[in-house]
Symmetry: C2
Subunit: 456 residues, 2 copies
Amino acid sequence: MENKIPYKIYLEENEMPQAWYNLRADMKNKPAPLVNPGTGQPMTAADLAPVFCDELIAQELDETTPYIEIPQEIRDFYKMYRPSPLVRAYCLEEKLGTPAKIYYKFEGNNTSGSHKLNSAIAQAYYAKKQGLKGVTTETGAGQWGTALSMACSYFDLDCKVYMVKVSYEQKPFRREVMRTYGASVTPSPSMETQVGQKILAEHPGTTGSLGCAISEAVEVATTNEGYRYVLGSVLNQVLLHQSVIGLETKAALDKYGIKPDMIIGCAGGGSNLGGLIAPFMGEKLRGEADYQIIAVEPASCPSFTRGVFAYDFCDTGMICPLAKMYTLGSGFIPAPNHAGGLRFHGMSTTLSQLYHDGFMEARAVPQTEVFAAAEQFARVEGILPAPESSHAIKVAIDEALKCKETGEEKTIVFGLTGTGYFDMVAYEKYHDGKMDDYIPTDEELQASFAKLPKVE
Amino acid sequence: MENKIPYKIYLEENEMPQAWYNLRADMKNKPAPLVNPGTGQPMTAADLAPVFCDELIAQELDETTPYIEIPQEIRDFYKMYRPSPLVRAYCLEEKLGTPAKIYYKFEGNNTSGSHKLNSAIAQAYYAKKQGLKGVTTETGAGQWGTALSMACSYFDLDCKVYMVKVSYEQKPFRREVMRTYGASVTPSPSMETQVGQKILAEHPGTTGSLGCAISEAVEVATTNEGYRYVLGSVLNQVLLHQSVIGLETKAALDKYGIKPDMIIGCAGGGSNLGGLIAPFMGEKLRGEADYQIIAVEPASCPSFTRGVFAYDFCDTGMICPLAKMYTLGSGFIPAPNHAGGLRFHGMSTTLSQLYHDGFMEARAVPQTEVFAAAEQFARVEGILPAPESSHAIKVAIDEALKCKETGEEKTIVFGLTGTGYFDMVAYEKYHDGKMDDYIPTDEELQASFAKLPKVE
């Protein structure tokens, strides 16, 4: 096989990004501010200070600085597992018989198994710099918790993780990985917090949700001296850190003169998608280039495709600020048989605004089709994908097959956010034909929307 | 941090090896031939043909050709996950406060989680080329079985895996990964084979060993039309394929003008060690350079350090040819509490001869110290290492600490063969203080040696 484009494009260390890209700087319609649920007023830095680290608050609120330098300590850490490869999916293309050219940015080659480490190390760094003792967080599939455990271990910070109960039970080994890195892990909802007790009283036997776990982690951070809360998705600061994915992707494509037609990413809270698309969306916003950008979400938790664009709580316990986003309602808890992460009821405010303004589209896919795509991908490309990432695989395959019909030689780039080594219980269910596709009814969603907070 | 040597050295695709290196071509004392246990005569290609693929037999018996071209199909597959990075362990060096320079060749960035894929794809390729229906094999820790499943899936071959029972039970998710790639997996010893039935009758309740599983896989291969047996370690052909590790390592070091003082690898059957050291040992054999080469084995299965150099069966069921190797006796079964793979009773004939002739040294390390080294490594270098690989980490750290005492700036290269994502049961035992260090007594070993076959 004679190819000018290698199977994997790795940037040199000196080609790696030195600054994160802040997409909001190029948005005409800025994302709506976080709002204090008590006063209805936008949250100030002072309001946020008990919850978040100071420098992260500054990043959260910064809507104008396009590039923010990556501190040298973080760049050194990035060098341990970055650059991640941009892979040309030659084998998948051949298997599909498509004229499309498929690339994926693979973020799974680190022990957290996903892109989450990109933001975890940044957040741990700023916590350490502020002289904190430790941080608290939630984790769903466990990737974010693992990433944060690694980052905290590196900077010698305490790390308390509240893990969505269904994931805690389905992924027993995740806990041991976090423990290897010195973190404590509690299944959520727990009886350790007031909000956990309240949620358990209202929903006995609940398998939990990211929204519940966030409430618990925030309570613990704000009631313990020297602790702050950190979050692995949704927030602007997270999308900022994750822009390293898109910046590397663009640099790798540019190096070989490749211009993508389509960029596809899975979307739960938006961390991967927001990071992957950042520089491309920037070009689109500035009118310098056009790309088809597709968010893929699970049909069981379809915030973009079936949610409403409204102010809502980010957490189930309703102790966090309100964010204007596409949401299913903060009380919405996806069915426990949904295996693939991406369980958050809302979506990044930045991505929500961009979607609302028509700069991107969204598709919802049922999980059995996602696992079928995952297995097909694994067998030809070798990598065992995380269920989350496989949402993007599913749509990339769909689009490549469309190209096969039309003969179009589109260039498709998708984000392969991580590996599925800790998802074998779900794979087993799929292999045994015991996985089904739960899709919420309109009535369920309407009931959830009816509980949205009233903000003008 | 200003470094001329990057954290990770990746070769370009055009710098990747185009031929494997056959170490035996440079050995004056060749490894002793495999011997037919019935006749006492060296095995011929015809003798081996019912068991192995024809081209692999040719490679097995070839003692004179120094370089054997890697077929294009295999090189294309290699490009999907190779080159593997040669990583400079800056963070570990800093943590240890050592003047030593530590590098590791990381083979874990593929779904098999180890270097095993390097030979699996080669063996599957030759099986396909011969027109076979499928292959059978054994697997211990599960890495080889996973690798072979991936390779067979790629070439559309049937794959029957006999998995050491203790690993099958400790690593339930490994089975699902192999199943994802379409393989069948049977815990060994099983009642499916005559030899399995015999072993179970003699040792009821045995947790199995690689030796047992090999016997079963060979029986199935030789009694089913269109099947052959493939093996992930020990054999010369495997060391040949694994030379890609050492060749890449050497090319990466040469690219930056680095000359190692010491090369360290873990040793079970010898596949990783033999591959890693191949080109360096070649220089040593040809008198062009000198290196300190250290094999690290578990204290619970110490074939180099406490075994005898003698002809022995490669399998427990005594149906395979005899090999002259350092062995603990084919009836030796390591304690079930030993978690770290490397459970084979013997050692590659090539490495055994080199060790016997004084070209390398060996150390045995107890498993709790191995897990302590693994955790220390994980926390600073990020990668969660496989227990097998951690044997090499343990000795690399020991040697780096010696440099700290003496002030020597030695360059240490070790093989990090894989990741530990499927070893969390063992990590959990270690975290809970439930792991102990079983070391066989002299009496046990003497009793095992007494059963060695008599070959002049």
